[in-house]
């Protein structure tokens, strides 16, 4: 849009410049013609030498006027160009500043979101790791406990079997059941209430 404005102004400037130049040329031409007619009227028919001088003067004046107009036009164009350039630079600067702020904000927001997401992911991962660690620890403890219990039970059974085998071999036939009568009846008597309740469904 700024470029288009500059282009429009260039065309107008050029048209204006051309009009000015043509106007200046036409003005000099009219002035010289009037002077030339006065000289003819005053001095009669000009001499060829005088005509050459006048033509040279006219040419020189035209060139000077053209040069000045060109200079003025160039200067005006430059000033205008500089002005437009300055304005555009200001606009561009503002635009860049606005966009820069927007981009900075958006980038900042994205960065913040990314930071939050990363933090959440790290927290989540940490929680999962903690949970896994706890579960693993619990499983290991249970496993150790279970193994310990199994080992104790195995030793218990072995010792029981050894003791029972030893006692059975040692006591085989040596303990007469009749010797146990009192012991058994005493044991029964101690548990009479429980047995009675069970038998009579009390």
């Amino acid at each position: 849009m700024n470029t288009l404005q500059i282009s429009n102004l260039n065309i107008e400037q050029w048209i204006l410049s051309m009009i000015i130049i043509l106007g200046i040329i036409l003005a000099f031409y009219c002035i010289l013609k009037m002077d030339f007619k006065k000289d003819i009227k005053a001095t009669g028919a000009p001499k060829p030498k005088d005509i050459d001088i006048s033509a040279n003067q006219l040419k020189k004046a035209s060139e000077e006027a053209l040069y000045k107009a060109t200079e003025q036009m160039t200067s005006a164009y430059r000033l205008n160009f500089e002005k437009q350039l300055k304005e555009n630079m200001v606009q561009l600067n503002n635009l860049f500043k606005i966009n820069s702020d927007k981009i900075t904000n958006e980038f900042g927001q994205s960065l913040s979101n990314f930071h939050n997401q990363t933090r959440d992911m790290i927290t989540s991962s940490q929680n999962k790791i903690d949970g896994y660690s706890k579960n693993l620890e619990s499983e290991i403890n249970e496993s150790v406990s279970s193994r310990k219990k199994e080992a104790i039970e195995a030793v218990d059974n072995k010792i029981n079997k050894i003791l029972m085998a030893y006692l059975n071999n040692s006591l085989e036939g040596s303990i007469d059941l009749s010797d146990q009568q009192d012991y058994i009846l005493e044991k029964l008597e101690k548990n009479k209430i429980t047995i009675s309740r069970d038998i009579n469904n009390v």
Binding site: I159, M164, I175, Q180, I184, L185, K187, L188, N200, N201
Partner: protein, 159 residues
């Protein structure tokens, strides 16, 4: 007419097998008697007769019995076999008759019609295991030894 009613099972009768053995004997006797009576077109009478009883049945009747008594006894025994509570006692050796009767008497003091099944497991070393319909009460020496070894291991584990 005799009206024999059992107040308690005799201590000589301990288990269900003996009950069915007696029932079988009574059935055979009654069957033979009925056949004989039927042939004479006469029913069972209430006359006391000298019926020879096997040893196991002598605990029921100390004197003469009638066929009606026998039939009545059969009916009562059948009822006992169906409804009487049963307890199983496991011993470390085969008990003699005296010990069997002592144990049975002890249980009959709880319930006069209880049936006592005696089993033998030498691994219990000594004592007994009582099993009722509800639970098992281990009063054996093996159990005591297990508790002892268990306590020993527990002590070792805690050291």
């Amino acid at each position: 007419m005799s009206n024999y009613k059992m107040k308690a099972l005799p201590k000589q009768i301990t288990n269900l097998a003996q009950i069915y053995q007696i029932i079988g004997y009574i059935d055979n006797s009654l069957s033979s008697k009925l056949k004989a009576e039927t042939s004479l077109k006469a029913g069972l009478n209430n006359k006391f007769e000298q019926i020879e009883l096997p040893e196991i049945m002598q605990s029921f009747f100390s004197d003469k019995i009638s066929w009606f008594d026998l039939a009545n006894l059969r009916k009562q025994l059948d009822e006992i076999a169906k409804t009487a509570p049963v307890v199983t006692i496991t011993l470390s050796d085969i008990p003699n008759a005296e010990f069997k009767m002592k144990v049975t008497s002890w249980f009959r003091s709880i319930n006069p019609f209880i049936l006592v099944e005696i089993m033998v497991d030498e691994l219990i070393i000594g004592g007994c295991i009582i099993k009722t319909e509800r639970r098992e009460i281990d009063l054996s020496i093996r159990k005591s030894l297990k508790s002892f070894t268990g306590n020993l291991l527990e002590t070792i584990d805690n050291v």
